[in-house]
C-alpha cells in the first residue's frame, strides 16, 4: 500500500512538469511563485485536515457506539476537536491572502 502511494505521488509530480514551461511573466525578476505555492499549501493543509477530522469522527462514532450514555460528552469533545482541526486548515487559507 505504501509503495503504491509513493508511485502515485511520484507520478503526480512528474505530471506537474508542464508548469515549468510557463512564460516568464509576473515580477520582473522571474515568474511569481507566491500564488501557486500558496494554492498548493491550501490543498495540502485541507487534505491533511480532512484526514485528521476523519480520524476524530471515526473514533468518536466508535466511542458513542460503545458507550451511548456518554454520548453528550463525546459529542462535545468531537465538536471541539473538529473546530480546532478546521482552524489549522484555515491558517493555510489565511496564508493565501498574505501571498496575494
Amino acid at each position: 500500500m505504501k509503495r503504491k502511494l509513493i508511485y502515485a505521488g511520484a507520478t503526480l509530480m512528474a505530471l506537474a512538469s508542464p508548469v515549468l514551461a510557463q512564460p516568464a511573466g509576473g515580477a520582473s525578476g522571474g515568474t511569481d511563485w507566491h500564488l501557486p505555492f500558496a494554492y498548493l499549501a491550501v490543498g495540502i493543509a485541507s487534505g491533511l485536515c480532512g484526514l485528521g477530522q476523519g480520524k476524530a469522527v471515526a473514533s468518536s462514532c466508535e466511542a458513542m457506539a460503545r458507550n451511548p450514555g456518554a454520548a453528550a460528552g463525546i459529542r462535545f469533545a468531537l465538536i471541539l476537536g473538529l473546530a480546532l482541526i478546521e482552524s489549522l486548515g484555515l491558517y493555510a487559507l489565511f496564508v493565501t491572502y498574505i501571498a496575494k
Binding site: 482552524s87 491558517y91 489565511f94
Partner: protein, 245 residues
Amino acid sequence: MQAEAEVWSTALANRFLAGPLDAFWSALGVAHDPAHPWENWLSMEILVVAIIIAFFAFLRSRLSAENPSQLQLAFEGLYTFVAGQVNDAIDHGSKYVPFIGTLFIFILLMNLIGIIPGFESPTQSPSVPAGLAVAVFVYYNYMGFRSHGIGRYLIHFAGPVWWLAPIMLPIEIVSHIARPLSLTIRLFANMFAGEKITMIFLSLTFLIAPAVFMGLHVFVALLQAFIFMLLASIYVGGAVAHEEQ
C-alpha cells in the same frame, strides 16, 4: 482583497460623522481615507453594540422572579450554558462569567448579523477578531497577575523545575503569543471563508447550493463563537489556576 461596497450604516456614518473619526485616526497615526474614515466593520460593530445594549435594557426591565417571561427563561438558559462552561474550565469561576458571557453574546451576534441582507459581519474584517483576541490576552494575563501577583505569575513561565527553565521559557512565551494569533485567525478565516464561499456559489447558481453553504456558514458562526468563548475560559483557567503544592 478589493474594497467592499459600503453598508448603509457606514455610508450614513461617513456622511455625518466623518470629521470626528478622521481626527481620531489622525491622532493615532492610522492610515485612512479622510473622506471615508468609517469602515464597514467599525460601523457594524458599533451597531451590534447598540442592538445588544438596547435589547438587554429591554430584557432587564422585564425580569421577574415570580413570573418569568419566556424571553427571561431563554436567557436564563443561555446564562446557565455560559456559566457551566466557565465553571468547568475555571475553579471559583463565577467572577469571570460576565466577561466571557459578553464575549460569547457579542461574537455570536456579530457573526450572525452578516446573514441578514444589508448587514455585514464585523468579524469578516481582520481588525475585529484581532481586537477581541487582544482583549482576551490582556484579560487573562491581568487575571493571572491579580490572582498570583506579578512575580509569581511570571515565574510560572519557567516550568515545573528550575533546570528546565531555559527550554520552557521560550516555549511558553511562543505559545502565549500564538494564542491571540490563533484566536484571531480562527474567527476571521472562518467568517471570511464562509461568506466568500456563499458568494461564489451565489454567482454560479442560485437557490439550493448557496443556501446549503449559507446554512453551513450559520452553523460555523455559532460554533466559532462558542469555541472563542471556550478557549478564552480555558486560557483564564490556566492563568488563575492554583496548583496545590
